[in-house]
């Protein structure tokens, strides 16, 4: 890194006046980086870092929202409460199911489409835009759209019964736990494929062609080429996509809130909708914070484990 902070002043100061200006300039030079940092740092520390610490602190309190009421320190009570709370466990399970059902398809299909689009052709940019369109569309809009598609008399039921002749089309998708989770996962996959495709596409373009050609010379078939040449070459990108998707999977919120509202009877509640309900419907801020902290720890440990897994031998660093 080039260091251009220190004014390049010649040391041999002739007069005391010059020496003083030099000193002043050097002091000003020392303050400069902090002046550049200040506005963003103040906002970041005040509105992100401080709340992080606060979330942790609040999780140990029976937190009172009303002005004047005192919050009492209750130690780990919020955490032990979560351990014995069946809705918490169901929320955790549902978040896990969402992750398990939505992450693999996004990876496999995203990679497949990227492979199909790898060769430069006039149609490539068009496809890229089409597949990426759901990614840039707001979660609110697509959640309502999928709620409509999966409605009792909606398109999905019609297509299943009258087009594909699977079942009688009377599935009430959003009123059962498992069918609703399937609908929510379908949305997650549909919305997310474009993103993983884009990352894989960039990674694939960095795979040296000479390697592939050498593999062709050696008589490797498509699958062998993919396994031996492509896959190792895109390993860092694969790791990145897996980590981001797993984090994203545990962060599912808007789609669940808008498609089922966690219902019926809390059956489709995921961790974040449950946390939100505890905090902003039941005004139990302490318990909500405890759930948020648990979730943060889970996400942190998972991403750490995955980074280890995908980093493997290679020294890939910033």
């Amino acid at each position: 890194m080039i260091d251009s902070t220190q004014p390049q002043v010649v040391r041999a100061a002739v007069s005391p006046v010059a020496a003083r200006t030099t000193r002043r300039r050097r002091r000003a030079g020392r303050a400069t980086p902090y002046l550049f940092l200040a506005p963003a740092l103040v906002l970041f520390v005040g509105l992100i870092v401080y709340p992080m610490v606060r979330a942790f602190q609040m999780s140990f309190y029976d937190w009172k929202v009303l002005a004047g009421a005192t919050s009492t320190f209750i130690g780990f009570d919020n955490y032990t409460r979560a351990m014995g709370d069946p809705v918490f466990w169901r929320g955790l399970a549902n978040s896990g199911v969402y992750m398990a059902l939505s992450v693999p398809p996004q990876i496999v299909l995203g990679l497949l489409i990227a492979m199909l689009l790898k060769a430069k052709s006039p149609s490539q940019p068009v496809y890229r835009v089409l597949f990426y369109l759901p990614v840039v569309t707001s979660w609110v809009v697509v959640s309502l759209l999928f709620k409509y598609l999966f409605a009792d008399k909606g398109v999905i039921n019609w297509a299943l019964a009258d087009v594909l002749h699977l079942g009688d089309g009377s599935t009430s998708w959003l009123s059962g736990r498992w069918t609703a989770l399937i609908a929510i996962c379908a949305l997650g996959v549909w919305k997310g494929i474009g993103w993983s495709m884009m990352i894989f596409l960039a990674a694939l373009q960095g795979v040296p062609e000479s390697l592939e050609e050498a593999a062709v010379m050696d008589g490797a078939n498509r699958w062998q080429r993919f396994r031996v040449v492509t896959l190792p070459a895109i390993r860092p990108a694969l790791g990145f996509v897996v980590v981001m998707l797993v984090i994203g999977g545990f962060n599912v919120f808007t789609s669940v809130l808008l498609m089922t509202g966690g219902g019926p009877g809390g059956q489709t509640e995921v961790l974040l909708t449950y946390m939100y309900r505890q905090a902003f419907t039941n005004l139990d801020f302490g318990y909500g914070s405890a759930i948020a902290v648990i979730l943060t720890v889970i996400v942190f440990l998972l991403s750490l484990a995955q980074m280890r897994l995908f980093r493997g031998g290679d020294e890939e660093e910033r």
Binding site: Y34, A40, V141, W190
Partner: protein
């Protein structure tokens, strides 16, 4: 020509069939959404569904644009997104400049702290942030949306911009410094103009994120006059029997600017995504 590019015709056809099929699946929900936005309530859930609305009506659009306060919500979204984006890109780029060009005590530590912000998802902080916003008197105000949106976008923007700034040769800075330019001039007249692609990327990402944001707006906005588009659309849906035509007319109006921005600047999307992935 290398052996790789001589694909057999059969596999070329299969490739296109798969791609077209995939693109159709991605596109159909959008097409159906637009179609429903032209249907009256009686025709929104019919078996078999109407792909082409018959009879087609503009009523939903007329109602959305005239009677539902929609123009106000649209303006709220515009004001919040534009302000957040401009402020965030400006102060993030200043921070990125400090990280890329200066060596100072605490640099590594502070940069790591900023990166932590990339790992902690926004939803985890929503409870303490709500209490903070309440203490600061930011509930039910657009300012309350703006300052938290800016704070939430600092990490990613700083990370992306720092990487780009670091790739600009420092000799240019040195040359300007010899000519007597101070740090601000070097940042504003040298590094910023040279970083247009990275600035475009961060601008687009921030704009989209704030335009689409829902959870925070849901949490702090109760006053109907302060609603942003995602909030307004979600509430259209909440009113008893869902008026799907109305919901999707509003959705189309809300999504259009995003799609236009995306189509115009898609080059920068790809750059931003890949610099985040490959370097991260």
């Amino acid at each position: 020509m290398s052996a790789l590019h001589r694909t057999r015709p059969a596999s070329g056809v299969l490739r296109h069939v798969l791609l077209i099929l995939g693109a159709l699946i991605m596109l159909t929900p959008f097409v159906y959404m637009v179609s429903t936005s032209f249907k009256s309530q009686a025709y929104v859930l019919t078996i078999p569904p109407q792909l082409v609305p018959d009879p087609a009506t503009f009523d939903n659009y007329v109602q959305v644009l005239t009677t539902q306060n929609f123009a106000a919500y649209f303006m709220n979204s515009v004001v919040v997104s534009l302000t957040s984006t401009v402020v965030s890109v400006l102060i993030s780029s200043m921070m990125a400049y400090a990280f890329a060009r200066f060596r100072f005590p605490g640099r590594e530590l502070l940069f790591r702290l900023v990166l932590v912000g990339l790992m902690v998802p926004a939803m985890m902080l929503i409870i303490p942030q709500f209490i903070l916003a309440k203490q600061l008197g930011l509930i039910d105000s657009l300012q309350g949306l703006i300052v938290f949106y800016v704070a939430a976008s600092i990490s990613l923007n700083t990370f992306l911009l720092r990487g780009f700034f670091a790739s600009i040769p420092g000799e240019l800075d040195d040359a300007m410094q010899v000519d007597g330019a101070n740090a601000w001039t070097r940042y504003w007249r040298l590094v910023m103009p040279l970083s247009t692609p990275a600035l475009a990327t961060t601008t687009i990402f921030t704009f989209l994120a704030t335009w689409d944001e829902f959870a925070w707006a849901l949490t702090i906005i109760n006053d109907p006059s302060k609603r942003t588009l995602p909030l307004a659309i979600q509430l259209f849906q909440g009113q008893n029997a869902t008026q799907w035509g109305l919901v999707f007319a509003a959705s189309v109006v809300a999504v259009l600017p995003v799609i236009v921005v995306f189509l115009i600047f898609q080059k920068y999307f790809v750059q931003g995504l890949t610099s985040g992935a490959v370097k991260g």
